[in-house]
């Protein structure tokens, strides 16, 4: 077990190094002189020279990269051009907001996805099954920003039940989390349905029925348990989609998270903020994937852990 964990962690390292290289190169790949970019549009020639010196932009690129990583590991991403505060100050609480939104969306997706998947399987090929299937197709095909705007029109403007934007109370969380989680709920429902139908067709389920167990008990005790494994994999894979999708949902609902910060910082050309936010999301994603892998190894005895 110990070796399995260590090996997985070592496998994650090349991806982390690659991510840091890409984020580092964002500065150099942006057209124009990086020192000019960092110094901002109103900088004088002397300012630009100072920036070049202080960032070490005059030194070899490998040295610059190692310097960048060294600072990143200690949480030093420099200062935001716009507010003058350190990047860490700017992104800390926004990171938590994004995690809160993504977590809530995942919870929504898992609950709605599993319940509708089970309903589909239980009422296979009947009206309810077809309705849920069509809805899930729409959920997969609809762009998140459109879903968000429609939800706002219906629930905030027409019905007046929920607040439009912001994040002052838990009520503010509902629409963004539904928007972000909808596609995932649809995917989970489809996987759940397919696996449960397959499981319910197997011999031991037939035995359970033959024993005289009720349909509800068969589904919950025998079917669900065995159909859940693939769902766990899907949930792990989809977590990354949620972190990426948060960029769009946060922009629609003015949710003060990392995603919205990235978009705002791109338009205000605040590169340190973009770099730090992108790096943080990518590292979180790699760690989540690692945890999913480990969890899967723990839960499923068939996975080779030696």
């Amino acid at each position: 077990m110990f070796h399995f964990i260590i090996r997985r962690i070592i496998f994650a390292i090349p991806a982390l190094i690659g991510v840091s290289i890409v984020v580092f190169l964002m500065l150099h790949a942006t057209p124009g002189d990086p020192a000019q970019v960092v110094a901002g549009p109103e900088a004088t020639a002397a300012d630009i020279e100072n920036v070049r010196k202080s960032l070490g932009l005059d030194r070899p690129i490998v040295e610059q990269y190692l310097h960048f990583v060294g600072r990143a590991v200690t949480g030093d991403f420099g200062v935001s051009f716009k507010t003058g505060r350190t990047v860490v100050e700017e992104i800390g609480h926004r990171y938590l907001n994004t995690l809160q939104l993504a977590g809530a969306a995942m919870l929504f997706a898992v609950v709605v996805g599993i319940v509708s998947g089970v309903l589909c399987a239980a009422f296979k090929y009947r009206a309810l099954d077809n309705i849920i299937l069509v809805l899930s197709l729409i959920g997969i095909s609809a762009p998140a920003f459109f879903v968000g705007l429609v939800l706002m029109i219906v629930f905030s403007v027409q019905l007046g039940w929920l607040p439009l934007t912001g994040n002052d109370s838990w009520l503010h969380l509902i629409l963004p989390c539904v928007t972000l989680g909808l596609a995932n709920a649809a995917i989970i429902a489809r996987v759940m349905r397919a696996r449960l139908i397959e499981t319910l067709d197997s011999d031991y389920v037939r035995t359970a029925y033959a024993k005289g167990l009720s349909g509800f008990r068969v589904i919950t005790r025998h079917g669900l348990r065995n159909a859940l494994m693939p769902v766990i994999t899907v949930v792990g894979l989809q977590m990354g989609y949620l972190l990426g999708g948060a960029v769009i949902t946060e922009t629609v609902f003015s949710w003060p998270g990392l995603g919205r910060l990235i978009i705002q910082s791109i338009s205000s050309r605040d590169l340190p903020l973009v770099q730090a936010s992108v790096l943080l999301i990518a590292v979180t994603f790699v760690i989540i994937n690692l945890l999913t892998d480990l969890l899967y190894g723990l839960v499923d005895p068939r996975v080779e852990v030696a």
Partner: protein, 302 residues
């Protein structure tokens, strides 16, 4: 059911590699395609939107760029079926012209991603070893940026524009094609006819081009249909975020972005472009189901 009856035991000839050419093969394709219930409605939706995209200037009732400041945000009417937008432009005409842009975004970016991703995957699987390991590590790095984030990073480097959006979406799609091409090739490598071609002394490039590529086309096509839908979604999302097509361009995502400020008083200006994206992606998803069955070599003939 035995597998052998459907496995093509003859070495496929280079001239007509995968696509069914004779009419009877088209008939077989069509029969299999029709076994998927959603495929035909999906195909019809996609066909309508493609028609709109191809003939936009002729079927759009008005000029999509001409403002009419006296009638801003006017609701739908018989003269203007989808109403007018925030500058009084005819929304139906803009949505029809938008079909052209969205289809272009989807098809071009996927084509670009395929032309880079598929060869990489085939080569990685064919030669294996260090090359494979290095290529897969690079792909892992690309996949470490979740969802649209990689596309956003690329657009932020290249600068916002329609072309750069397509490049960004293409790069973001490359890993998908590399992976699927790699696993399909790995499965083929065990086939006797590859072994035979090798022992005949056929050059590696020729084996890949004539024996591997034609035999993975089916899987790639199915994936491409699916990815065009996702590429349309991603590209319109980037435009919605202000990183893609810019202001007067009638791109569906950017129409939603500029319309959202007015949606409280005139919801139609976000509803119609949004529905357009939804229908295009839905159509492609449905169509993909039929192609998957029809192009799967293992699916039994009806």
């Amino acid at each position: 059911m035995s597998f052998t009856e459907n496995v093509d035991t003859t070495v496929p000839s280079a001239a007509e590699p995968f696509k069914p050419q004779r009419s009877s093969e088209w008939a077989r394709f069509w029969k299999k395609f029709r076994r998927s219930k959603p495929a035909l409605p999906g195909g019809i939706i996609v066909a309508i939107i493609v028609f709109c995209g191809l003939f936009a200037p002729w079927i759009a009732p008005y000029d999509p760029f001409r403002p009419e400041f006296g009638a801003m945000l006017e609701g739908p009417s018989w003269a203007h079926l989808f109403g007018r937008d925030e500058l009084g432009r005819d929304l139906l005409s803009r949505v029809i012209h938008g079909a052209r842009i969205s289809l272009l975004e989807g098809v071009l970016s996927v084509a670009l991603a395929m032309s880079v991703g598929v060869p990489l995957g085939v080569v990685a699987a064919f030669f294996g070893g260090k090359l494979d390991i290095v290529l897969m590590r690079v792909i892992d790095v690309m996949l470490a940026f979740p969802g649209v984030l990689l596309a956003i990073v690329i657009v932020s480097i290249l600068g916002p524009s329609l072309t750069n959006t397509m490049i960004a979406v293409a790069v973001y799609t490359i890993p998908i094609f590399t992976r699927i091409a790699r696993s399909a090739t790995l499965a083929l490598m065990k086939e006797p006819y590859i072994e035979a071609a090798r022992s005949m002394g056929m050059r590696n490039g020729r084996i890949m081009l004539r024996h591997i590529l034609p035999n993975i086309t089916g899987e790639i096509t199915v994936m491409a249909t699916l990815r065009i839908g996702i590429a349309v979604l991603t590209a319109s999302s980037l435009s919605f975020l202000g990183l893609g097509a810019q202001a007067p361009t009638p791109e569906w995502g950017s129409m939603l972005a500029s319309g959202r400020n007015y949606m409280l008083i005139a919801p139609h200006i976000v509803i119609f472009p949004g529905l357009a994206i939804l229908f295009l992606v839905l159509g492609l998803n449905l169509l993909q189901d039929g192609l998957r069955i029809a192009l799967d070599p293992k699916s039994v003939d009806p």
